[in-house]
Symmetry: C2
Subunit: 315 residues, 2 copies
């Protein structure tokens, strides 16, 4: 593992950056990437973010005032990417070419010339904040917006157990540096499309319980998404729903992504290990929030993930 | 208006405190009161909190390890109480006897010997935090829990526009002082009873829109509460729902409290004045979050509050 100052020195010595984000890009990988890209450009480097999928409308402000730069890349940085699988379509081209990996997942299994993994950081954007502080540049308001986005989204707006006093103080400083924290909070946590309201209503109707209500499961199907008009971005955070119910230890959200193909989100309370559950299906994540994919029919998929969850309950 | 240090001196010079909370007691009035009560007791004063109604189960931790104290009161403090009406059942006995009023509502209209109103504070608990810092005592973990409760509940867990860098830094320090922030966040913002899930589903079905979807209204009836098994504490925060919908400027929640008697919550976006709307019905509050009561039949009450909201939209 390298120190942030080693990485800062390295970044200042190189040029022509591509910054990789993970599949199903969230506020933390995108915020990390755009903040770092802006910082590198302020150092007169060429840099661009490679978005792993599409940039959801609600994250479009991260790219404000960033003109396109076309160049042949020389330096590859991955941000918030815990494992090669999360490189998705970038895996073949980039897996063996990563110069710098900056992450906050304890389970990080990436190969890179330089690695900085700080799992004490609630969001990878906390790491990026500290890294940019070591670079010969200042955090400007647009950078602050990017960093704040990861800080707030990965903590459920400062709600989760991963929040530390440092998290709060970094947010305070980002506010002073001009980030539009309240606007970002509202866009991330307090704005629901009509489609979202519809899909929430549908999801509540799928709620089922196992093991004396200690496990709660909801699901969405492609049909439900179509009926409600929900796009991917309307589905964000639905995974938080089953764990919120009083007494639930393991909350599971099963999302149909294609024919016989489901994406699973597991959220846990009270010391149960979501990452362990998801690892049984080749997935991973954090202790209290993890994900995996399972092939099969809906009822079979639910049975499989519930069975492993029962195992975890009894471990 | 008095300074906090004047109030600190006064509090240290007196004894036998009752601390008044407002009707429909929320996390901020309760957190303020219990924190101050604990601080006064550490100064070897006698002090008790007068709860204006019942202490909801989810707030019961605020009173942890506080044995009852019976004494004839000599000093009266009101916390987070913006107007005499909010004294509710305490009004007759206490309205003219308040020694110290500590509040954060710009609209404060209380009479008291000493008054400190700081409307820059996102929560009154920020004021209480600063006040206790001026007293000859330390903030212990149980006090920190109380203060944190107001800080997080009045900001929607650091989400609303009232959050300042100070809010974040106070929260950081409270975490270091031993408050159980993550547990409190979870209890306040991430725990839904079965009844709550049921009432949410019902409330979503009452959603109606006015003025090209700029005004959204939901309602609850006593019948709905009964059917879902929802108690008052299960209804907390429902008022946030209509404003969350994309494009909504004024979100209104109408709650049946008795026969032909409704409690209204108004939440606004984009510069619309909720307090102005509610003032037309004898209520008040903050710019973006206010409340009032209206007598009448449900559809009439909705018509009245919507009409004034249309006026506000066009002001």
């Amino acid at each position: 593992m390298n120190s942030l100052s080693e990485i800062a020195c390295f970044l200042e010595s190189r040029d022509k950056y591509v910054i990789l984000t993970h599949i199903y890009p969230d506020g933390d990988t995108l915020g990390s990437a755009f903040a770092l890209c802006r910082a590198l450009r302020k150092l007169n480097k060429q840099a661009r973010v490679l978005i792993n999928g599409t940039l959801a409308e609600k994250f479009s402000y991260l790219a404000t005032n960033m003109e396109e730069q076309n160049f042949e890349y020389e330096t590859v940085v991955s941000v918030d990417i815990a494992s090669p699988e999360l490189l998705g379509a970038f895996k073949d081209e980039f897996e063996s070419k990563i110069d710098v990996c900056i992450d906050h997942h304890a389970s990080n299994s990436m190969s890179a010339k330089m690695i900085y993994v700080n799992s004490e950081a609630a969001s990878n954007c906390e790491n990026i904040y500290r890294l940019i502080k070591q670079l010969e540049t200042q955090i400007d308001p647009l950078m602050a917006n990017c960093i704040y986005t990861g800080v707030c989204t990965d903590t459920g707006c400062f709600k989760f157990t991963n929040v530390t006093p440092d998290t709060m103080r970094i947010a305070a400083e980002l506010m002073e540096l001009g980030c539009k924290s309240a606007e970002i909070n509202k866009a991330m946590f307090d704005t629901k499309s009509f489609a979202r309201i519809n899909i929430e209503r549908e999801v509540l109707n799928t709620l089922s319980f196992y093991e004396e209500n200690k496990i709660a499961v909801v699901y969405t199907t492609l049909e439900m998404e179509k009926r409600s008009g929900a796009k991917d971005s309307d589905m964000d955070g639905l995974a938080a729903l089953p764990r919120q119910i009083e007494g639930v230890c393991i909350g599971i959200t099963v999302k149909e992504k294609g024919e016989n193909y489901f994406r699973i989100s597991v959220r846990t309370n009270d010391g149960h290990d979501a990452a362990w559950i998801c690892s049984k299906f080749g997935g991973g994540g954090h202790f209290a929030a993890a994900g995996c994919s399972i092939n099969g029919q809906l009822d079979e998929v639910i049975k499989q993930i519930v069975n492993v969850s029962i195992e975890e309950l009894n471990r």
